[in-house]
């Protein structure tokens, strides 16, 4: 469903051109579990942002679900993000003044889903992620693991087909990190493509496909293809 063809991304820093991605070719199917690993500055986050339509390729084409999404305008991009893509960040990125329930509701609200349906979906997600008794807590009243659970619930509230996680365990201890990974991996059963960026081999090794990046290129792929 995700098809990248000769995708490059070049940043201009001062008078120098820095290539964050060089001629990436990548295909990811529905329900794939992919980890992207590599040293800092190898372009793994840029690749993730590219797949999440937060960034545009300098050259090459990107097809999502068969449609070319390389040159969509802001409005169309936002629509694709809203309907097909869920993000989980290292720093959680919860809105501090909103409760857990309202944070989960945010994508539904932005998409204009009817209030009753919203409430029902949020209640279900709170239940699924064991957050029902934390629904009215603000992020600063939640533990790190709970915050990331809220973030995952939010990312899945619109039933995306791709879930992008950028260092999802980076701010968590090992036990909670594992818990979070288990929750993410559960989504594979729903045929969601899960793409995790990490530099922790223990986390990356859980994926069925493991991509290694250096200097903006995928240098090797390992792991069991499902």
């Amino acid at each position: 469903m995700i098809e990248l063809e000769k995708v490059s991304r070049i940043f201009v820093v001062g008078d120098q051109q820095v290539a964050a991605l060089r001629n990436i070719d990548l295909n990811i199917a529905e329900g794939d579990y992919v980890s992207i690993m590599g040293p800092s500055g190898s372009g793994k986050s840029t690749l993730l942002n590219m797949i999440g339509l937060l960034d545009r390729p300098s050259s090459g084409t990107y097809r999502l679900d068969g449609g070319n999404v390389t040159d969509l305008d802001d409005l169309q991009q936002a629509k694709v993000r809203s309907e097909k893509i869920g993000f989980v960040f290292q720093a959680f990125h919860l809105v501090p003044r909103l409760t857990a329930a309202m944070n989960i509701e945010l994508p539904l609200m932005l998409a204009g889903v009817a209030v009753e349906e919203r409430k029902a979906r949020v209640a279900e997600l709170l239940r699924n992620y064991g957050l029902t008794d934390r629904a009215d807590h603000r992020p600063d009243q939640l533990s790190g693991g709970q915050r990331q659970r809220v973030a995952i619930a939010r990312a899945t509230s619109m039933h995306p087909s791709v879930l992008l996680a950028d260092e999802p365990t980076g701010n968590l201890d090992q036990a909670t990190g594992k818990e979070v990974m288990n929750l993410l991996e559960k989504l594979l059963a729903q045929n969601v493509a899960l793409i995790v960026v990490t530099h922790d081999p223990a986390i990356g090794g859980r994926a069925h496909r493991q991509l290694h990046m250096v200097d903006g290129q995928i240098v090797s792929e390992s792991g069991k293809r499902s």
């Binding site: 942002n49 999440g52 937060l54 960034d55 802001d74 409005l75 991009q77 936002a78 629509k79 993000r81 809203s82 309907e83 893509i85 993000f87 960040f89 990125h93 809105v95 501090p96 003044r97 909103l98 945010l106 994508p107 609200m109 932005l110 998409a111 204009g112 209030v115 939010r154 619109m158």
Partner: protein, 402 residues
């Protein structure tokens, strides 16, 4: 995104920084309140003047002796003539005009009124029974001057309320006799309390038939003729007729001045409306200042909430939606600010009304609407730039807090 959600989200983010929100609303409300109070004062002054004129009567044309020449010296002046006086017959002739409903000749003098040992100086007004209607006076006890021959010098008088109290206290005054100058007059009525109108306190007047006043003061001229036109449309006709009649009766000399109350009134009206708009406009400048403040604070808010904006973009909010969220915040701010300002302004006007009861202080509706519209307009206008800046943020950089 639903409108209700937009409003709720915007109000949520306003509540997120209460001090900032309150200060901005304060600035907005002071601006709106300033417009409301200042225009209320201006409008109050205008209404005060109009009411003063209206209490003089409606549809009035006033004939006064003499003519103000602004173009050099008239021939009469060289011969040492004084303007010919207006007589009672002149007044009566004015009734021939079809535009005239009724007239009230006026003679004014001062005399001593006395009853037993009590006496005081009073303004004596000589007129006819029609004065009551023409001048919008109202009688308290008894009746007004009797209708009848204009030349009949009946020995009756009507007292102003205060004169009655000073001379009679709580006693019955109607039917009693008072002495005015060297004549005795029977009191037939007492005016209702009316306060001041155009500098003449009706409470301190004594009104006698015009012929009696002529005898009392040994004159035959009139101080003024009040002419009431049949309706508003024929005021000009009445004025023209009065001029013509006086011109003919005075042997082809224009030696009287005829003014219409309307002309004076509309001049005052225009001046004072312009004044009200001017002070309102000056006050509106403070609204623009409040708008700049809103822009400044909005820019800070955008900078502080970069990560949130990045997140909203990642969650599928297009730039347009983010812009609308900031617009909604500005609209809420200035909307609530102007409501508070209206409250402040109206209470201010009421307080001023209490301090100066004679001034009918009320903010004109157009100023209220203009103030609120300006507040909303500047609020939204000045948030255009911050909102666009937020909408155009690069999501990757914004998420990283850059």
């Amino acid at each position: 995104m639903r409108l209700f959600d937009v409003a709720q989200f915007a109000s949520g983010s306003l509540r997120g920084s209460p001090t900032r929100t309150l200060l901005m609303m304060l600035a907005m409300s002071i601006g709106v309140a300033a417009v409301v109070v200042l225009t209320a004062l201006g409008e109050g002054a205008r209404l005060y003047v109009i009411n003063q004129f209206a209490s003089l009567g409606t549809n009035l044309v006033i004939v006064l002796p003499g003519r103000t020449e602004t173009a050099g010296i008239g021939p009469g002046m060289l011969l040492g003539q004084i303007p010919r006086e207006i007589t009672l017959d002149d007044a009566r002739t004015l009734l021939r005009s079809r535009a005239v409903k009724r007239i009230a000749p006026l003679t004014v003098g001062s005399g001593t009124i006395s009853r037993n040992a009590l006496n005081r100086e009073v303004v004596v007004l000589g007129s006819t029974s029609d004065l009551l209607e023409v001048r919008h006076m109202s009688i308290g006890i008894g009746r007004f001057l009797p209708a009848g021959d204009i030349n009949e010098s009946a020995s009756v008088c009507v007292l102003g309320n205060q004169i009655k109290r000073e001379l009679f206290g709580n006693e019955q005054a109607v039917g009693q006799w008072v002495r005015l100058g060297d004549r005795r007059f029977r009191v037939i009525g007492v005016l209702a309390t009316q306060g001041e109108s155009m500098g003449m306190r009706t409470d301190e007047l004594v009104i006698v038939p015009v012929a009696s006043a002529h005898q009392l003061f040994n004159t035959s001229g009139l101080f003024r003729i009040l002419v009431e036109a049949k309706n508003r449309d024929v005021i000009e006709q009445a004025r023209h007729d009065a001029e013509q009649i006086m011109f003919q009766r005075h042997g082809g000399e224009k030696d009287v001045t005829v003014i219409t109350q309307d002309a004076v009134l509309s001049t005052f009206d225009r001046i004072l409306t312009a004044l009200t708009m001017a002070v309102g406009g000056i006050a509106a400048i403070s609204l623009a200042v409040a708008g700049v403040l809103i822009m400044n604070v909005m820019l800070i808010a955008v900078a502080q909430r970069v990560k949130e904006i990045g997140l909203l973009k990642a969650l599928g909010a297009p730039g347009k939606q983010i812009r609308n969220l900031f617009f909604a915040e500005a609209a809420l701010l200035s909307g609530i600010g102007s409501l508070a300002g209206l409250l402040l302004g109206y209470s201010g006007s009421i307080i001023i009304g209490q301090i100066y009861p004679t001034l009918p202080v009320s903010p004109p509706w157009w100023a209220v609407i203009a103030a609120c519209a300006t507040a909303l307009g500047t609020g939204i206008l000045f948030s255009v730039w911050p909102a666009r800046r937020a909408a155009r943020l690069d999501p990757v950089a914004a998420l990283a807090g850059r």
